[in-house]
């Protein structure tokens, strides 16, 4: 039988030892899929390999898993974010940051920017301040001119009084 000849050829042993060429691997996979006897013989050889390894096993030092775990821990993702913090309010601005207590969740780029976002209410505050500023400026100019006019009139009156006294 062809499958028995194949098993006896030693190709399976070469495969489990990782010494088979690509062509031999392809052939083995075909034979394994086609003939259950080949598959069974291969499984037996794998068990044999495992048995040799068990015989030669060395208990790893306790620290070994710790070292492996350390490298894995570096890849652990941060706690799950709340998607609501990425939503804007009804005016489509002011991102809310729901998880502020859990530490920074963004890359800090704001300090590099020349612009800032503020609430729309401030627009009216600035307008009111501007208008009030203009009104006060108008009053200041008015009273300054009034004061200057008054000073001139006083000076004129003082001059008239001096002339009358003479």
């Amino acid at each position: 039988m062809i499958q028995q000849q194949y098993i006896d050829s030693g190709a399976l042993e070469a495969y489990v030892m990782g010494s088979a060429s690509d062509q031999e691997v392809k052939e083995l996979l075909y034979m394994k899929a086609t003939y259950p006897e080949v598959n069974f013989a291969l499984q037996q050889l794998e068990v044999d390999m495992e048995h040799i390894a068990q015989q030669m096993a060395v208990i790893p030092p306790v620290r070994t898993w710790g070292k492996i775990s350390e490298t894995i821990d570096e890849l652990i993702v941060r706690p799950v974010d709340n998607p609501e913090q990425y939503q804007t309010d009804k005016d489509d601005h002011n991102f809310t940051t729901g998880n502020q207590n859990n530490g920074p969740h963004y890359i800090e780029v704001e300090s590099e920017s020349n612009t800032m976002k503020i609430n729309k209410v401030w627009k009216w505050v600035f307008a009111a301040v501007f208008v009030l500023g203009k009104i006060f400026l108008g009053f200041a100019i008015y009273f300054y001119l009034e004061n200057r006019q008054a000073q001139l009139q006083i000076n004129d009156l003082k001059t008239e009084l001096r002339q009358l006294k003479k």
Partner: protein
């Protein structure tokens, strides 16, 4: 976004757990094999750490799939990792095991030992062994098969 993050996190934890399980089951066997090859406990441990650290989720899924012998695949990964190392060491017969004597190898005939040791610990191919021993490839395969017969009959 939330479900994806949750899945990624859960998946990572699951992988970590599976990896630890693989380490507990096969770490000692792999360390024994690697120690036989590199002949240095510290180096062998470092190889073991590298193998398990670099084990990806896809690798874990692949090697733990039903019908696959997980240890054989892990050993195959170790062989690939050790390939550059074994290319720089002397022949099998010239080195002394540092861990303990392999009782199966000791029971083999000298030619079987050379073939088994050369292929198992030094990653040599059938073609290379045939060239080194000046024998046909069929004879090398036969010697290898006989070596396994010795192992099986002395389990």
């Amino acid at each position: 976004m939330k479900p994806q993050l949750v899945n990624a996190d859960t998946s990572l934890q699951a992988n970590l757990s599976t990896k630890q399980d693989l380490f507990n089951r096969f770490g000692g066997m792999l360390l024994g094999y690697i120690s036989e090859v590199v002949k240095s406990s510290a180096e062998a441990e470092q190889y073991l750490i590298d193998i398990f650290s670099q084990l990806q989720a896809a690798d874990i899924r692949d090697i733990t799939a039903p019908g696959k012998n997980t240890f054989i695949y892990l050993q195959s990964m170790a062989r690939k990792k050790l390939a550059s190392f074994v290319a720089t060491v002397d022949e099998c017969a010239d080195v002394t095991p540092i861990v303990n004597d392999n009782k199966f190898v000791n029971l083999m005939a000298p030619e079987q030992q050379v073939v088994f040791c050369g292929m198992h610990y030094h990653g040599k191919t059938i073609t290379k062994m045939a060239a080194e021993l000046n024998k046909p490839e069929a004879t090398i395969k036969q010697l290898l098969r006989e070596a396994f017969t010795v192992i099986r009959s002395n389990k």
